[in-house]
């Protein structure tokens, strides 16, 4: 165990920051032995979570979610579209996840982050797959219909990562769900050509011929609400809600998504050695109960 001893010796000689940068894995393993993490959390505790609604006035629904330092801004813009022939009484949801260069030193303009498409896919899977199972889905797409076969809502959900420090998917999902909670349908009316158009703020109460179709600003009915928790696994340790540093050092990530009735919605385990995942699921669902 030559190298082990070397670094142990070194650790008493060099500064903490230098040791952390040179031997990151050993640095974290030493913490794990004491059942504590570099930021002072016990292994099973998630970071503080905050949520703010209505962060963007130009969107129809928006929310800012923060887990630790990771910050996500989700906003929904609604547009009127003609529904497809296959499902004339359903609207549509388009989910996009963006990682602009402001969020992390690893992202440069014109070179998108590697994880962005992965998180984007996970998000649209979680939000849209829910929708298909109408009995327990998050959103009933029929709720987005305006006039059967003629007009329906197209909801553009855009999630921007403003600060990336681990657990990206958890924060993104939280902000997305919150944005849907905050969403208010814009007023619509029939125009002269018989088309449904969005009534803009200024023309409200304008011409009498343009009666608003939906009088009150309706809110979306969320059937069930998904929550997720990401954990990193390292040897026998399970760390909930990892930071970017922890994610980069420990190779196995597990994300568990549950809905409000604690049903398992989805489970992601991208790569890494196989570990005792049943315990991870147990732990994360327990943790999630605490969070909710």
């Amino acid at each position: 165990m030559g190298p082990m001893n070397d670094s142990s010796d070194l650790s008493s000689e060099m500064e903490v920051d230098a040791f952390r940068r040179l031997f990151p894995l050993r640095f974290h393993e030493r913490h794990l032995l004491e059942s504590i993490r570099p930021d002072g959390r016990p292994l099973g505790r998630a970071r503080d979570t905050t949520l703010a609604f209505g962060a963007v006035a130009s969107a129809d629904g928006s929310a800012l979610a923060k887990i630790g330092c990771t910050t996500m801004l989700a906003a929904i813009k609604m547009e009127v579209m003609t529904p497809t022939v296959e499902s004339p009484n359903e609207g549509c949801i388009a989910v996009e996840f963006h990682m602009p260069p402001i969020c992390s030193p690893t992202v440069r303009p014109g070179r998108p982050a590697e994880v962005a498409p992965v998180v984007s896919k996970q998000l649209s899977d979680t939000i849209l797959r829910q929708v298909v199972m109408t009995f327990s889905g998050m959103i009933d797409l029929k709720d987005l219909s305006l006039v059967n076969g003629k007009a329906a809502w197209m909801a553009y959900l855009d999630i921007y990562c403003l600060d990336a420090d681990g657990a990206l998917f958890d924060t993104a999902l939280l902000s997305a769900v919150a944005a849907f909670c905050h969403l208010k349908f814009p007023m619509v009316s029939l125009n002269d050509d018989g088309r449904v158009v969005v009534v803009s703020g200024e023309s409200k109460g304008g011409k009498s011929g343009k009666e608003a179709v939906n009088k009150e600003q309706r809110k979306l009915n969320l059937i069930s609400i998904p929550f997720s928790l990401t954990c990193t696994l390292h040897n026998n340790y399970i760390l909930a809600d990892p930071t970017a540093e922890e994610e980069s050092i420990m190779e196995t990530l597990v994300t568990v998504v549950l809905d409000s009735s604690l049903q398992l919605v989805s489970f992601y385990k991208p790569g890494g050695p196989v570990l005792a995942f049943t315990s991870a699921v147990m732990v994360s669902s327990d943790l999630q109960k605490a969070i909710i």
Binding site: V56, A57, A75, I76, I102, P105, D158, D163, D165
Partner: protein
């Protein structure tokens, strides 16, 4: 006639708020909110220049401005704004002491969360606060203000609606305590006298905005000492 014009001139601007440390992952960052315009700027570096760059005995500044898809009233593409990126670069390069970080690059990335008019001036002012937060050496903060010309009237710090039917606009970025202009652009038709009037209006506003930015940095510095 002149009095009437003075009466109709809007000489106040919207509420301006600056906060440093908006993005933890960056070396320095700032959030600015002026009226409905909301902007985040992150500064990274000084860090290694791109490999393709040739040797330089002074530092490099790299700027990028982009919009979110929901920033504008009509949903956009959220792509980079090349024009604003190069304007941001020009407004800042004169204020940064590039000799203080030779061979390396400082990246200034801005994201407009919501566009409510006067976007570029807000981005520039916010970027200089973020640079200060990152500890990049500067001669002075850069405060930026624009005026729109609507008929005979000058409107300072125009909102989106005013910008959409303006006859001309003038934007100044200045270093208030050195009384120097780092960038000036004018569009539309102007008489020399009008330019003079608009410039004085802007410079005065810049020095006031500079004070707000300075007090934000002071507060942040005091808070970190405690």
């Amino acid at each position: 006639m002149a009095d009437l014009r003075l009466l109709r001139m809007r000489c106040y601007w919207r509420l301006a708020v600056f906060r440093t440390g908006a993005v933890n992952a960056a070396s320095g960052s700032a959030y600015a909110e002026i009226g409905d315009t909301k902007v985040i700027v992150s500064v990274f570096g000084p860090r290694e220049s791109k490999k393709a760059m040739m040797y330089s005995d002074i530092g490099r500044l790299n700027c990028n401005v982009s919009y979110t898809t929901f920033a504008t009233p009509v949903r956009g593409q959220g792509s980079d704004n090349k024009e604003f990126s190069s304007m941001l670069h020009k407004a800042l390069e004169g204020a940064i002491i590039l000799d203080s970080f030779p061979k390396t690059t400082v990246d200034v990335f801005a994201l407009v969360l919501e566009s409510g008019g006067s976007d570029l001036p807000v981005v520039i002012s916010c970027a200089s606060v973020a640079l200060a937060d990152a500890g990049i050496m500067m001669y002075d903060l850069v405060a930026s203000v624009s005026v729109s010309c609507l008929g005979k009237n000058l409107v300072i710090d125009p909102v989106l609606e005013e910008e959409s039917y303006q006859d001309g606009s003038l934007m100044i970025s200045s270093m208030p305590s050195r009384d120097e202009v780092t960038q000036l652009t004018i569009t539309g038709e102007w008489s020399t006298a009008k330019i003079h009037e608009a410039m004085m209006l802007c410079l005065d506003a810049c020095s006031k905005l500079g004070k707000i930015m300075r007090s934000c940095l002071k507060e942040a510095a005091l808070a970190s000492q405690e």
